[in-house]
Amino acid sequence: MQAGLVERAQRGDKDAFAALATASVDRSYALAYRILRDPHRAQDATQQALLSAWQNLPTLRDRDLFDAWLHRLVVRACYTEARRDRRWTARVRLIPIDASTVSDTAVSVADRDELERGFRRLSPEQRAVIVLHHYLGYPLTEIAATLGIPVGTARSRLHYATRQLRAAIEADARPTSSRERTA
């Protein structure tokens, strides 16, 4: 059914595109939000991606690839949105987490906070591969196809992004550990 809508939208059928946009907006937003970690920027990126999809839809040859193609547009819109404010990584505020004062039930909250901080330090390209792999569950070949990069590049990007994220989290945790040791 979706291929039929895509075909009609490619011919300029506005109702068909409206149906496609309605069906795609939530997952596009969810993807954009996870890359950008900002609801307003995610909203802007989603809108840009969907408008770009309408504009460029006649160039899409394989209608069954609409979803993957739209994901590509969303990721690109996220890159643009992220680079609109190059200071975005500098907005990360380092709030020390005192693990000695949090209860067991709040440990996961602390973990999430560390993940959030570490993730915000990654480049948009690194964020995209992490989200495509760990959120959408894409294998490397699908990530490569979606982003228009070689599989090897996708693999190394995912590897270094994961390593950098791990390192950032460990670096965040270090002062807390040393404080715990001295206490």
Binding site: A21, Q43, D44, R61, R84, L115, T162
Partner: protein
């Protein structure tokens, strides 16, 4: 049995958290905007990805294009060289086509000749331009507006790049400047270059966006100004009656305010 490393599992769980539904205004904005945007029609449709060797396929097309151009040049050039009178009569007319000298009545990106055929190399200055805010709308946490630009000078001039945006209050005090908010004037993108014909002969448009304003309420009426890249000047926009520039709602003082070009120059109103 779950064999995923703990860190990756944590990462996946963390990513699972978060919104899965877009705010209603996201879709409403798209549905309102897209009918006015023309679709790009591809003469030759190349798949956005091919199963086997996208790079190889593209290289083949590039080689074929180079060969075709070279063959065409070899065929045409000898006929154009002076003194080559022994060849067959040329099908190329000896007088230029009117379409090439009279110019197009519709504006065209990267069009860089004047109606008289002279090459335009002069960039538009702020003082050349008339700028008008056509509308100023609200979406969730965002304000955006369409800005129309015309050339009011006596000579055609060129516009490219991305302008900066400033907001000044009713007393003329500048209180927001995109140069400090993530959207400074930039020479990028260098292309397309838009020709603005003299005397307001045509218009170009862009969309400006503002998010998360947490400052003091500015004195009305708020004015918007465009700052052209490479010190070409600044021009304050007029606004017709009924169009008021309102501030985007504050979504959190710790989050950044942005003022930026949301959609770049276009020959059609977004």
């Amino acid at each position: 049995m779950n064999t995923r490393p703990k860190f990756e599992q944590q990462l996946s769980d963390w990513l699972e958290d978060g919104p899965v539904d877009a705010p209603d205004l996201t879709l409403e904005t798209v549905l309102a905007a897209f009918p006015a945007i023309p679709q790009r029609r591809a003469a030759l449709r190349v798949p956005w990805r091919t199963a086997a060797g996208n790079g190889y396929f593209r290289r083949l097309i590039e080689i074929a294009a180079v060969v075709a151009i070279a063959a065409g040049a070899l065929f045409v050039l000898p006929r154009l060289l002076p003194g080559n009178v022994g060849g067959p009569p040329s099908a190329i007319p000896t007088t230029p086509s009117p379409a090439l000298t009279a110019g197009s009545s519709t504006p065209s990106p990267s069009h860089s000749t004047s109606p008289s055929g002279a090459v335009i190399s002069q960039e538009c200055l702020g003082s050349d331009l008339a700028v008008q805010v056509m509308d100023w709308q609200g979406a969730a946490g965002t304000r955006f507006g369409t800005i129309k630009v015309q050339n009011r000078s006596a000579t055609s001039c060129l516009v490219s790049g991305t302008p900066g945006i400033q907001l000044a209050d009713g007393q003329g005090h500048l209180f927001l400047d995109s140069a400090n908010l993530g959207g400074p004037a930039s020479v990028s993108p260098a292309k397309p270059v838009f020709t603005l014909r003299a005397g307001g002969g045509n218009s170009i448009y862009l969309m400006a966006g503002l998010t998360n304003y947490c400052g003091a309420v500015p004195v009305s009426p708020v004015r918007i100004a465009l700052v052209l890249p490479t010190s070409l000047g600044r021009v304050v926009a007029t606004a017709p009656a009924g169009v008021a520039i309102t501030m985007a709602p504050c979504n959190g003082p710790s989050a950044p305010t942005t003022l930026h070009v949301q959609m770049p120059w276009s020959t059609t109103a977004p």
